[in-house]
Structures are given as C-alpha cells and as structure tokens.
C-alpha cells in the first residue's frame, strides 16, 4: 500500500515535471518561431522598399525625360527647373536602391549599370540645356533625336524592369516563406495551447485528487480522534472500576481479617487469665508438696505459657496496626475530596504549633518561608504536610541541631512545596522504598510501621500530585510535593 502510494506520488510528480518542461520548451519554440516570422516579415518589407525605391527612380527618370522634351520644345524656364530637380534627385533614389540591395550582388551589378547609364544621360541633358539656353533650338532638337539618349533611356528602363522582376521574384519567395512561417507559428501555438491545457488539466486533476484524499484522511482523523476520546473514556471507566474494586477489596480484606484477630487476642487474654490461677496452683503445690511438681510442668506454667502468649499478643498487636493502616488507606481512597482555597502559611503554622512540644524538647526549629496558596482538599494537604514535617522532626540526626525549612513556589499551573531537614537522610537506593507500604529505611530506632509516606503518596496521587525525595545519608532530606494549583474535585 505504502510502496504503491509512493510510486504513484513519484509518477505524478514526474508527469507534472515533464509537463512543465514541455510547456517551457514549447514556449521557447514559440518564441523562436515568432522571431523567425518577424525576420520573414522584415525581408518582405525590405523587398517592398526596394521595389518602392526602384519605382521612385523610374518616376524621376520619366519626369526628367518629359521635362527635357518640354524645355527643348518650349524653352520654358519652369521645365528647366523641373528637369534640374529631377536630375538632382535621381542619384539619391539610386543610392537608396544601392543601400537596400547591398546584400544582393546581381542587383548591385544592375545599380552600377544604371549609374553609368545615368551619367551618360546627365551629359546628354546638360548638352540639351546648354544648346537651349544659347538659343540653338534646332540643334538641340537635332541632338535630342540623334545623340542616342533615347536608346539610353530605353536601356535604363530595361534594367529597371529587370531589377523589379528580380525583386518580384524575391518577394514571391519571401511571401511564401512568410506564409509558411505563419502556418508554422499557428501550429506551434496550437501545440503549445494543447500542452498548456494538458498540463493545467493534469495538475488540476492531481490537485483535485490530493484535495479529496486530504479531506478523506482529515475526516477519518477526526473520526479516529472521536474514537480515541471514547476509548480513553472507556479505559478511564475501567480503571476507575478496577481502582474501586481494589479499594473495596482492601476494605473487605482488612475488615474480615480483624474478625479472627479479635478471637486470637481474646483467647490469648483468656489464656493469660487462666494462667494466673494455674500459677497460683503451682505455687501452692510447690509449697505443700514439691515432689508432685515436675520441672516441665513448672517451666510450662511459669515460662513457656507466658512467653507464648506474649509473642502471640505482640504479633497480633502488630497485625492489628497493619490492618488498621490498610483500612485507613482504603478509607482515604474512598473519601470524597472537597477543594477549597487554602492559606498554606496558616496551615503549616498550625502543623508546626502542634509539634512545638517535640521540637522544643529537641531544640529544633521549623522555619516557614514563602508558601504560595492553592485550591485543594484541606484534610489531604494537611495530612501530607504534617506527615512530612513530623518525619523531618522524627528523623533528625542526634547531636546535630535540627533545622527544618518548609517552603513553596509556583511552577506554571502547579505549586511545589518542599520540606527540607538537616537530619540523618535517606540512602538514595531507598528513595522509592520509603514510599512503599510497611517499608522503612535506615536505623530502626524510631517507632513506626512504614505507613506514613505510603499514605502521603496515596494522598498526593489522589490530588493529582507527585511526591519525590532528594537525599543522601547524613546529608538531610528534602521532600518535594508538586500539586496542581487548582484541584478540581
């Protein structure tokens, strides 16, 4: 699935790339074609210009000839001015033709011929002018007829026709080229248009496809998210049920364990009570008739029985304390929490006051520093902190003046409280252990069942908090309690 997807994506990407490259190439081709067409157009235009220049020359030539004849016949000065201006313009028209046909050797050859013929004609014309202005009209007429100027004009005309025909031929070729170029341009434009259309269509299709996929995946993501929430809800319910089950189990177990314990303790007491008259009996027998009393019987009544009952009693008392601890924990777990704003300084001062007797005795001090307030369950918070502070007092190092600091600070949406002492400390390997039920660490010289910190941790968890310990042997200990600034219950 993933591989074909990737392959498909790659194909689409390369198709789009090829499409765009093709469009780019088509653009270049189009540009080149347009350029070439412009060239053709310029050449056609050029040919027209040459033809125009040739025609100009021819017109001037005919005008000069007409003006010459008019002058000879009528001696009118206007004809002379006309003739002179035409003769002046002829070289310019010829120069124009020569400039335009610089690329064409055949036409250049013709231009050279025309120039020769023109110069000869100029000489004829000047001769005519001279004769007419001198008043020798008949000579002028005679010269006009016989000097060969008529043949000269005819030759000029022939060459001009030739040059024009040549240009006409070129024009035909160039027009054909122009037409072909326009045809090519049309095709190139059609191909380009089709290509652009194709690429645009393909891109649109791909975008549409992707958009549809995207929408579909977003929709399925939303659905998954909703499912996930449902799943979390379900799991939470399961967990809560399991937790309730454990609480109930702990309660029932501890409760039902108490019942046989009552019997054990009760009948142990009965045994002890029964041992009293037995002891008296042994005393009396020993006084009255010691022979009746065996050593076994004596030691059984005086030593074995009290010892046995003593052990039973001590063990059952311990068991009772443990069961009570479990019971209390399970009860704490079921207690309904009520969040309220707590004045933490006052709360800790209250705890310190309740320990004043002990701290005075030990010469220890409890210093309360900045305590940010929080919204939480009063009983739970009080129990946690009083347990921690009591522990700090309880496990001071003998021979060192006890210094206990209680402080707090806000950390985002949470508040961290610290109870720091300079007491005996806890070995780092025991940091987790001290929070376990019935587990203790270090020298066992203080009474306790290993319940306090387990209780503290259970309470902290219930409030959505975390408790951790930072300590080393002999270095004092810092217990850090992180609670949500506002507990929702």
């Amino acid at each position: 699935m993933q591989i074909t997807d990737r392959l498909f994506n790659r194909l689409v990407l390369s198709a789009v790339t090829v499409g765009f490259v093709a469009v780019l190439l088509a653009g270049f081709v189009l540009f080149a074609t347009i350029q070439r067409n412009q060239e053709f157009n310029r050449w056609v235009d050029h040919t027209y210009q040459v033809q125009q220049a040739l025609a100009d020359f021819r017109i001037q030539l005919e005008r000069s000839e007409t003006a010459r004849r008019g002058y000879i016949l009528r001696r009118d000065q206007r004809y002379l001015a006309f003739l002179q201006s035409s003769m002046r313009e002829l070289p310019e028209a010829l120069a124009q033709v020569e400039r335009l046909t610089i690329d064409n050797p055949a036409q250049q050859g013709r231009v050279a011929q025309i120039r020769t013929l023109y110069e000869r004609q100029l000489a004829f014309v000047q001769e005519s002018e001279r004769l007419v202005s001198a008043g020798a009209i008949p000579q002028a007429v005679n010269r006009f007829r016989n000097d060969g100027s008529i043949e000269n004009i005819i030759a000029l005309r022939d060459i001009l026709v030739e040059a024009r025909a040549e240009e006409q031929k070129l024009l035909e070729v160039r027009t054909a080229q122009q037409t072909a170029g326009q045809q090519t341009l049309l095709w190139v434009m059609i191909v380009c248009g089709l290509l652009v259309l194709g690429v645009a269509g393909g891109s649109t299709f791909v975008i549409f496809q992707y958009t549809r996929d995207l929408t579909a995946s977003r929709r399925s993501l939303t659905r998954l998210n909703a499912n996930l929430e449902g799943l979390v809800e379900e799991r939470t319910v399961d967990l809560r049920r399991a937790n309730d089950e454990i609480q109930r189990f702990a309660y029932i177990v501890s409760h039902d364990l108490r019942s046989p314990l009552v019997n054990i303790m009760g009948f142990t007491a009965e045994l002890e009570a029964a041992n009293v008259p037995l002891g008296e009996l042994v005393d009396r027998v020993e006084q009255a008739n010691p022979d009746l009393l065996s050593d076994d019987a004596r030691s059984a009544v005086r030593i074995e029985l009290p010892e046995a009952t003593g052990f039973i009693r001590a063990s059952t008392q311990k068991m009772d304390r443990l069961i009570n601890a479990i019971l209390r924990l399970s009860r704490e777990g079921r207690r309904v929490l009520t969040a309220e704003p707590l004045d933490m300084t006052a709360l800790v001062e209250g705890i310190a006051a309740s320990l004043k007797h002990r701290t005075d005795e030990l010469g220890a001090t409890i210093t309360i520093q900045a305590m940010p307030d929080l919204v939480s369950d009063r009983v739970a918070v009080e129990q946690i902190l009083s347990n921690l502070i009591e522990n700090a007092v309880k496990y001071l190092k003998p021979g060192r003046v006890g210094r206990i600091f209680v402080r707090g600070r806000a950390e985002g949406t949470r508040v961290v409280y610290e109870v720091e002492d300079n007491g005996r400390g806890i070995d780092p390997k025991d940091h987790e252990r001290v929070f376990d039920l019935f587990r203790r660490a270090g020298t066992q010289d203080q009474p306790g069942e290993g319940i306090g910190l387990a209780h503290v941790r259970a309470l902290a968890y219930r409030l959505g908090g975390i408790i951790s310990c930072d300590s080393a042997l002999d270095q004092g200990a810092t217990f850090r309690l992180s609670l949500p600034a506002v507990t929702t219950t």
């Binding site: 409760h255 314990l261 009552v262 303790m265 009760g266 009772d320």
Partner: protein, 147 residues
C-alpha cells in the same frame, strides 16, 4: 431486665460468640442466650418460634453485620420493618465495622445501639461487660416489670 428476657445472639464467629458470652456472664447477666451462626435460622426463630419475640416473648437481639448467608442490615430491616411485636425488640448491633456510612444506615433502619467490637481484647472485654451492665438496667417490651 428480668430473667425472662432471652438474649438472641446472631454471630457467625463462634469465637466471638464465646467471648461475648463469657464477658456478659462476667457482668452478672444470667439470662438465657440463644446463639445463631447464620441469618436464616435466626430470622426463622425471631419471626416464627412460639416463644420468640414475634409472639411477645421478651427478647433482646445482639446482631453482627457480617454473616455468611445474609447481611446483618437485612436482618435489621426485617426486624424493624415488620408490623408485629418484633419491631419493638431492642437490637444491639455489635460488629467490627466502624464505617460511618454503615453506622448511619443501621440507625436509619432502627437499630437501638451500635457498638464496634474493639480489636484490643482488654477494650473488647470492657465494652462487653459495660454492655452487660447496660442490659441489666434496660427495660424490654413484653417483659414483666421486675418488682
């Protein structure tokens, strides 16, 4: 409380029953004690026995809440919820449970006294003996007044 009053003890733990009996006797109570180990036979006795409390036999019930076949609160509800003479029978709940909710429920159902069995035997013995002293002075319906 005269000698005619029968003490009906509903207690599944024989050891407890024995200890309770011993200590009641030590308090000087010599009334007959009917002991039932489970709920069914106890209810049967309370409701149907000719000399039982439902037929005006004077009686006082010592009730444990944790029984194998039915809950002590069910028995309490049956004693206090009926129409006959049975509902006037004093019931002393004597159990290991010190759960607040449970205590409230028992009083709601009409129990007359609720005592938690202390685990510590000295306290236990003390409590039962005090109960015995208490029993010696209370009046039970259906009992002929002591002269």
């Amino acid at each position: 409380m005269s000698q005619h009053v029968t003490i009906v003890m509903i207690e599944d733990d024989e050891g407890h029953a024995r200890l309770i009996e011993k200590n009641i006797r030590r308090a000087g109570i010599s009334n007959p004690i009917r002991h039932f180990l489970e709920g069914t036979s106890a209810v049967d006795y309370l409701e149907n026995a000719p000399e039982g409390p439902n037929h005006n036999g004077p009686a006082l019930v010592l009730l444990d809440l944790n029984l194998p076949d039915m809950s002590g609160t069910d028995i309490l509800a049956r004693i206090k919820g009926g129409d006959g003479a049975l509902k006037r029978t004093p019931v002393v709940v004597l159990t290991t449970t010190d759960d607040k909710v449970e205590i409230q429920r028992c009083y709601d159902l009409g129990c007359n006294v609720y005592i938690t069995k202390p685990v510590n035997y000295e306290s236990f013995a003390q409590a039962i003996r005090q109960l015995g002293l208490f029993l010696s002075v209370i009046q039970v319906p259906g009992d002929e007044p002591t002269a």
